[in-house]
Amino acid sequence: MNDKRILLVCRIAPYGNSLARESLETALAAGAMGAKITLLFLDEGIWQLVGQHKPETIGHKNHAAMLSALPLYDIEQVLVDQDSVDKRNIGSAELSEIAELIDGHRVKEIFADHDVVLSF
C-alpha cells in the first residue's frame, strides 16, 4: 500500500492565502518520507512559477525559494498545465524551469494514473 502514487494538485496563487505555501510544505514532507508524489500546478497555482518574486515587500517568505527545494526532496514529477498558462497569456519563457509543461489531455491522464489526490 505504501507504493500508492500520490498526486498533489496546486490551484492556489502564492501570498494571498497560506494554502499555496501549505501545499508545498505537504509536497516537501512527502518527498522527505520517500513517498511517490507528483506535483501538478493548475489554474491559479501556475502563478507560483511566474516572475521574480519579492515577497519581502509584504512580509512573506519567498515562495520560489521553497519551490527550488523540490529537487532536493526527490519529488518524482513537477508538472504545470499548459492550458492554465495560455489562458493567462504567459509565455513558457516566463515560467520557472522547475516544472514540465503538459497539455490538457495529459492532465487527464495524470489524474487517471495516480491512486490518490491531495487537492489544494
Binding site: A13, P14, Y15, G16, N17, D43, E44, W47, V50, G51, Q52, H53, K54, P55, E56, T57, I58, H60, K87, R88, N89, I90
Partner: protein, 106 residues
C-alpha cells in the same frame, strides 16, 4: 469620486467584473493582493474584460495596482506596461483621502 478596491484574481473570481459593472465615470479602481493579477489582462487573456477596461479608461475611470503586492508576485514589469498605474502604500492612502468614499470588493 469613489475608490474601489479589488483583491481577487480575475482568473478565479468574478470580483473584478462585478466591480467594473458598478463603476461610474471619474471613479478609481485599485487592484490589491491577488487582485494585482488583473494587471496582466491583455488582448489575448480575458479579452472581454480588457475591452471593458479600455472603455472605462475612455470615461475617465482611473486604474491602479498596489506596488508592494505586484512586486511580491513578480508582476511590476507587467503592471508598468498595462493601464494600471503602480502606487506605493503612501499613494494608496492619498487616493483614499482624495476619494469621497471607499468601496471594497472581495
Amino acid at each position: 469620486m469613489i475608490l474601489h478596491t479589488v483583491n481577487k484574481s480575475p482568473y478565479s473570481s468574478q470580483c473584478l467584473s462585478d466591480c467594473l459593472n458598478r463603476v461610474s465615470a471619474g471613479d478609481k479602481v485599485i487592484l490589491i493582493e491577488d487582485g494585482v493579477y488583473g494587471a496582466t489582462i491583455a488582448t489575448d487573456a480575458l479579452p472581454s474584460l480588457h475591452s471593458f477596461i479600455q472603455r472605462l479608461l475612455a470615461s475617465q475611470v482611473g486604474f491602479y495596482t498596489l506596488r508592494p503586492d505586484a512586486e511580491a508576485r513578480g508582476l511590476e514589469a507587467i503592471s508598468e506596461q498595462s493601464a494600471f498605474k503602480l502606487l506605493s502604500d503612501h499613494e494608496f492612502v492619498d487616493l483614499v483621502v482624495e476619494a469621497n468614499k471607499v468601496l471594497n470588493w472581495y
